[in-house]
């Protein structure tokens, strides 16, 4: 893999060094790659909350926050990220690079990450009962609060209907109904399982001494060899009949969300054509959806499409007047029809390739984006560099776009229906 140096710790655990001097900060992230499954998803979600509350040496939020502030405003984040039918469970410490503060913060940051992940606060063979109770309440209000952002909510509902009864349809933040069965002890047992069995990827990005950081991690982190069961991934399946869901709500603006299958996996030869397709169709401010649904017909303020690399599906989203549902839907489909017929101008093709080149090159300007890019590559087992990805999208022809477009099929239409005027 280009631009990145790999060091094996033990079987199933690696350090990835991404060296980039232009940044003022460094990042150290530890990822656990695990399958998305209904039985454990809520535990993972609670785990990331509880582990951020305190450790043996920093037992409270106040201790942790003071340490971070004293490390020149470092930040600790813990998260979960869906990646196809699997998920990443991770912790990141981000901090100002040593040369701007004249101190070895890298050493402290590595130690803090080690502490948070491997030395949690444990009482009677379990996590703190208080912390778990409080974090259950917080997670509950977070889950219930998804509905507060109507655009996000509509997209989430569309995806969960489209992938119902499949791993990808599982909500990664978990389910309130699972809370009662999760105890400090059972959560701690689950923690031990992840820590000892899941695939580990540690990313160090920014400016650092390779040898020093490798030895800090290898000598300091208690990582045993692991087998890591394979996390499988299947692309979105076509549906014989389009699934239509309408939900009514007391809102001013209605949201339409359409899920479509693309049948073009990320490692397929025509995947770059799908990227160009999406850009021309709805992935940009010069796209057909933007220019027609918004600019020409004034039906919406936002309308866009995006594609998911691992699951190979497309999502179209727009906010409209309730009474304009048919108009908006028909126009979206009319634009898709133009794509399939090859009614794409030379300007649109040039613009799409330039936009993709812009967004791919822009990834180099963000440590977080690079980390995510390489992490995805590891999961997918692909090893195209940014430059190789660029040259592939650049070579896409009109014929290839039409061909890839013909495979795109409507799957699920979700309508969040507001008040009629």
């Amino acid at each position: 893999m280009a631009n990145i140096k790999t060091e094996k710790i033990v079987d199933g655990a690696h350090i990835r060094l991404v060296s980039a001097r232009q940044f003022k900060t460094n990042r150290i992230s530890m990822f656990f790659h695990i399958p998305l499954d209904r039985e454990n998803v809520t535990k993972v979600s609670l785990l990331r909350q509880v582990m951020k509350r305190g450790t043996k040496n920093f037992p409270t939020l106040t201790h942790l926050a003071s340490e971070l502030e004293d490390m020149y405003g470092a930040s600790l984040s813990g998260g979960i990220r869906k990646k196809g039918d699997g998920e990443l469970f991770y912790f990141t410490v981000e901090y100002i690079a040593d040369r701007f503060v004249g101190e070895n913060i890298t050493k402290r940051a590595t130690a803090l990450l080690n502490e948070v992940v491997f030395n949690p606060l444990v009482e009677d063979d379990g996590f703190s009962q208080d912390y778990l109770n409080q974090e259950k309440k917080n997670l509950q209000s977070y889950i219930e609060g998804i509905i507060n952002d109507k655009r996000e909510y509509a997209q989430l509902r569309c995806v969960s209907e489209m992938f119902k009864d499949e791993p990808y349809g599982i909500f990664e933040y978990g389910y309130i109904e699972d809370f009662d069965d999760i105890t400090p002890k059972s959560l701690y047992e689950f923690y031990n399982k992840i820590i000892n069995e899941a695939q580990i990827e540690i990313f160090v990005s920014g400016t650092f001494d390779d040898e020093e950081i490798i030895s800090e991690i290898k000598n300091g982190f208690n990582i045993s060899p692991r087998k890591c069961g394979e996390v499988t991934n299947k692309i979105a399946k076509e549906r014989d009949e389009i699934k239509k869901i309408t939900e009514e709500m007391d809102v001013t603006q209605s949201k339409i969300c359409i899920g479509l299958t693309c049948d073009t996996p990320y490692d397929a030869e025509d995947y770059p054509a799908l990227m160009v397709y999406n850009c021309v169709f709805g992935g940009s401010a010069f796209s057909k959806l933007f220019n027609n649904v918004r600019e020409k017909l004034s039906l919406a303020y936002f309308v866009f499409s995006r594609i998911d690399k691992m699951k190979s599906y497309m999502l179209i989203s727009s906010g409209i007047e309730t009474g304009n549902y048919d108009k908006a839907y028909n126009e979206i489909m009319a634009q898709m029809d133009k794509m399939t017929k090859g009614e794409i101008t030379e300007e649109e093709l040039v613009a799409a390739k330039k936009a993709l080149s812009n967004s791919i090159n822009s990834m180099r300007d963000s440590l977080a984006a690079m980390e995510d890019f390489y992490m995805s590559q590891i999961i997918c087992g692909t090893d195209d560099s940014l430059d190789e990805t660029l040259s592939k999208t650049d070579a896409v022809t009109l014929g290839e776009i039409v061909k890839v477009g013909k495979k795109i099929k409507q799957n699920t239409i979700y309508f969040l229906k507001g008040k009629e005027e």
């Binding site: 701007f100 209000s141 509905i147 603006q253 401010a285 906010g319």
Partner: protein, 428 residues
């Protein structure tokens, strides 16, 4: 065009400042090693500028709400019927714009063809083209934008807070206006605004990236005539009382949990430049000292369950107005309100320890350094600061100058528990 070069050694950042012969101020932040370039071109004209004397006239004009924002949308249309987005797209530029209370700004980022993109930016902003037809079309689009915000509880709780806080200052009015107010917008009105506010000495251009300062003038010359400048804009604002208008405001929306904002109104307005920068940083330090994650107040509220991780504080201080707000989600917003007021009163009596102040200053300084990782953040921060007469490179010095006494004075002056607002959005 000559540039003054300012360097901050501690953070290793440079700023080049110059003024074009048209009166346009130009700021360049050289960045090497990044792929991206960023340019932002803005006018000191936002939603609060609603009363002024249009260029070449003698009578005052009061605008309907939402004109500055409407104009921002419309400028993308070109006289030849094309759209600026399409021009950018041909040379790989990713363009956008925003309207705030006091700035309208147009921007692009790109990883190639920087000067071609710059040419398009300067060109489209300086060629307004408004017709009855294109104005009517935009009323539909912005109507949907307004409705989207009407359903957004975070947005509503914030604007409700401002409308309770202010008696007269237009900061209380929605930036995009209302469906009704934008129906009054005409091409003639829009031309009056561009003629008056889009004049070079009222505007700033900020460029970020690996850019040759000697190449910039040519593109400004090409797009901005030397004699275009019309001097200072004559605008008016009504006097605003120091007291808040109402102490409590609520609304009901389709939400799962109450959403709240607690706002403190700035009483000592009229400061700009370095003094305002210092005031801003001191307010940020106070927010952290009072309710930051390492504070006793935060942990008490968090552990008792009245706040969650969404709890946050922010401040916006301008020459004409200012406020600080604390917001989040809570089942018991009134309890949070009481706890916040109580904590502030306690801090006024007990003060802060040297150790806490030192630690928070470290953290606040790091946010400034961190900002230089991102081209967009640099450009946006610089244009906002320069419009207020601040030099962002003074951040380090200003932070170091802030001592305990300055903080205590600021605490007493700004965080007046008799002069604050609680705004809540409750579930239907």
């Amino acid at each position: 065009m000559n540039f003054e070069r300012i360097y901050n050694e501690k953070i290793d950042e440079t700023l080049l400042l110059g003024t074009h012969k048209s009166g346009l101020r130009v700021a360049l932040v050289p960045k090497k090693g990044f792929s991206k370039y960023y340019a932002i071109y803005g006018t000191k004209y936002g939603s609060i500028d609603r009363e002024f004397i249009p260029l070449g006239e003698s009578e005052r004009l009061t605008l309907p709400d939402g004109v500055a924002h409407f104009l921002e949308h419309k400028l993308f249309e070109m006289p030849d019927g094309t759209n600026a987005f399409d021009h950018f797209s041909q040379v790989g530029g990713n363009s956008n714009a925003f309207t705030s209370f006091n700035i309208t700004a147009y921007l692009f980022s790109c990883t190639e063809n920087f000067y071609e993109n710059l040419d398009i930016l300067l060109n489209f902003v300086n060629t307004p083209y408004f017709t009855d037809e294109n104005v009517a079309k935009e009323q539909g689009i912005i109507g949907q934008e307004i409705k989207m915000y009407d359903d957004d509880p975070q947005w509503r709780v914030f604007f409700n807070m401002l409308s309770a806080m202010y008696h007269k200052n237009p900061v209380k009015r929605d930036i995009a206006g209302t469906v009704e107010s934008i129906s009054k917008i005409t091409p003639e009105l829009l031309y009056k605004c561009t003629n008056t506010f889009y004049n070079p000495s009222n505007m700033i251009l900020v460029l970020v990236g690996d850019i040759d300062e000697n190449k910039i003038e040519e593109y400004i010359d090409k797009n901005i005539p030397e004699n275009r400048d019309s001097g200072e804009v004559k605008k008016f604002t009504e006097d605003e009382p120091k007291e808040v208008k109402e102490k409590y405001i609520e609304q009901k929306l389709s939400v799962s949990i109450p959403i709240f904002a607690i706002g403190f109104k700035e009483k000592e307005v009229g400061t700009g430049g370095y003094d305002l920068l210092k005031k801003e940083i001191a307010t940020e330090i106070l927010i952290e000292l009072l309710f930051g994650k390492s504070s006793e107040n935060y942990i008490k509220m968090y552990e008792s369950g009245i706040i969650d991780a969404s709890f946050d504080g922010e401040t916006e201080l301008e020459e004409e107005y200012g406020f600080t707000s604390f917001g989040g989600e809570s089942k018991e917003p009134k309890k949070v309100y009481e706890a916040v007021l109580e904590a502030i009163q306690k801090a006024k009596t007990d003060g802060f320890s040297d150790e806490e102040i030192k630690r928070i200053k470290k953290a606040v300084l790091s946010d400034d350094i961190r900002m230089y990782n991102n081209m967009e953040s640099i450009g946006n921060t610089y244009i906002k600061s320069l419009m207020k007469g601040m030099n962002p490179l003074d951040y380090t010095k200003a932070t170091e100058e802030i001592d305990k006494e300055y903080l205590m004075n600021r605490l007493n002056e700004h965080f007046d528990t008799e002069n604050c607002v609680l705004s809540v959005v409750y579930p239907v």
